[in-house]
């Protein structure tokens, strides 16, 4: 009757972790290019740089997180979880590097190869994930948001492939300037945004003990966002509805977080607040810019959306997920003496990283070149913080499980 349902904490730790731990390197690379090389605003270099963050950091983490969440939320696992993780991970990394360097250093011949790797990696991930989500017997609001998010990823992937192929083969035609914004909005407001919305429905009430999101929000918001995205393909101002949807979501999240019952002020709350403030501010500027069309405004809201809203939130969540999973996998092998989540990463190190991160966002708004330094520092810190957890996990993994001593014949 319930064949194939698994409540196990699959996949193995190594599957999502490889995504989480490689993500900071793309941001470090992006920061280094910003600082040491700089870029020409009107050239495709900006696109190359942007994708080091959106594909290399954001999408990698989100792919890893989804593999972790699907068994918990939907009760289904990926086939051969570790193998699946490895091939997607490698192809997205190689694809993103070829893409980033190809555009940044104008080596357009790299782009065809980038296209192959990205189509393969993102394609396999999105179709299998979508199939698994559609198979879920009970579709909660979170599952629906995830479905719409992955559908958006598929749309963004195909539009993006067209763009990449045009650049790669030097045939940038009229369609380019129409497809480019459509790709951007499906990638960002669809794939990234809807996944955050769906996961927030679960994570905010649970981690911080708040009330649930309003039933109507859970029922309609993700459809409203996705619907207005599709509408914006035909009528450009419909995107305002999408962004208003996100502003509303941001304000509701803030309200819940402020009325949380867990009064403890910990660093992940700071990351959440920073994320939500950035979202609301970016949304307001975006709507204003639709009528004004000002380049400075565009840069500000882009930074706030991508770095302020999404990357802040991801940092905060990584600090919960990575130590927890380490603890869980160690504990599942029968150990009792491992450090607690809070002991795995020193609170002071988290605060230092938060400061570097905040300065990164602020300086990106004013002086992108200088921001490069802070992005590098912040992401080295992020990596080191997460790496400490990995070290604890590997130490315990090398020890024989206490369970084994029970199994040995007397």
């Amino acid at each position: 009757m319930f064949k194939g349902l698994s409540l196990d904490q699959a996949p193995p730790y190594e599957a999502p972790l490889r995504f989480f731990l490689t993500a900071p390197f793309f941001a470090i690379l992006g920061g280094a290019l910003l600082f040491f090389v700089g870029y020409d605003v009107s050239s495709p270099q900006v696109l190359g740089l942007l994708h080091l963050f959106t594909l290399g950091f954001i999408t990698l983490v989100m792919m890893g997180a989804m593999q972790q969440m699907l068994p918990v939320l939907v009760g289904v696992t990926f086939p051969n979880a570790l193998f699946f993780a490895k091939i997607i991970h490698v192809s997205v990394i190689v694809g993103t590097l070829l893409f980033g360097f190809g555009l940044f250093f104008e080596q357009f011949s790299f782009l065809a190869a980038a296209l192959v790797f990205l189509l393969f990696g993102v394609g396999i991930f999105s179709f299998i994930t979508l199939y698994k989500l559609l198979k879920a017997s009970h579709k909660s609001a979170t599952v629906w948001a995830m479905i719409l998010s992955v559908v958006s990823l598929i749309i963004a992937l195909f539009l993006g492939s067209h763009l990449l192929a045009s650049l790669g083969f030097g045939k940038v035609g009229e369609s380019f300037s129409f497809v480019l914004p459509s790709h951007g909005i499906f990638a960002f407001f669809g794939w990234v945004g809807l996944l955050i919305v769906g996961v927030s429905y679960q994570v905010i009430p649970m981690f911080y003990v708040t009330k649930d999101f309003d039933e109507n929000i859970k029922k309609y918001l993700s459809f409203f966002i996705f619907g207005s995205l599709v509408l914006s393909l035909f009528f450009k101002y419909a995107i305002i509805l999408t962004v208003l949807g996100y502003i509303y979501f941001g304000l509701e999240s803030l309200k819940l977080l402020e009325s949380r019952k867990r009064k403890i002020k910990e660093i992940t709350i700071d990351f959440w607040e920073m994320s939500v403030y950035s979202l609301v501010l970016a949304g307001a500027l975006f709507v204003g810019d639709m009528f004004i069309g000002n380049e400075v405004l565009e840069r500000i809201y882009s930074v706030l959306f991508v770095y302020g809203f999404v990357i802040s939130l991801i940092c905060g969540m990584l600090y919960k997920i990575v130590p927890f999973l380490a603890w869980f996998h160690i504990s599942s092998r029968g150990f009792f003496d491992m450090p607690t989540m809070k002991e795995m990463i020193d609170e002071r190190d988290l605060k230092i990283q938060f400061k570097f991160h905040t300065v990164s966002v602020l300086s990106l708004l004013i002086l992108p070149k200088i921001a490069g330094i802070f992005i590098i520092a912040s992401n080295i810190y992020l990596f080191l913080n997460l790496y400490k957890v990995l070290k604890i996990y590997t130490e315990y993994k090398a020890k024989p499980s206490p369970f084994d001593s029970f199994k040995k014949p007397a």
Binding site: L5, D8, L73, S137, K261, K263, W327
Partner: protein
Amino acid sequence: MIKDYMTHDHRECDNLYAPLESAISEENWDRALELYMPFKNAMLKHFAMEEEVLFPKMEEFMGGGEGPIHVMKMEHNQIRSIIDQLGEAINEKNTQKALGLGETFMILTQQHNMKEEQVLYTMAEQLPFDKEALLEEMKKVEA
């Protein structure tokens, strides 16, 4: 029915934990001790409702073994152990240890609850037995 009741019970347990954590962070140890027992009892009662009544009933239809119910029971044991360690940390007035255990308890419990609410209780609702009668039986369980 079972799903609604048990989901609500999860939230009640969270609501008992939140003020306990605040008391620990303020190092108000008398208050923490006072809040610890009702919280622990509510958790144990919830586990007992599942392990003594709900799970055995579900196993009649689904079989036991290494399936989802087995995984849920293992996680209950992990949570019980961490609740005990939390009690010791409160007795020792060790703030950092208690907060660390609390955070671990919280996430462990939340992901466990998520699996029960999204998957296990939904299964229970679909199995052919009298849910109303079973729920009454569950409510009578003592921790």
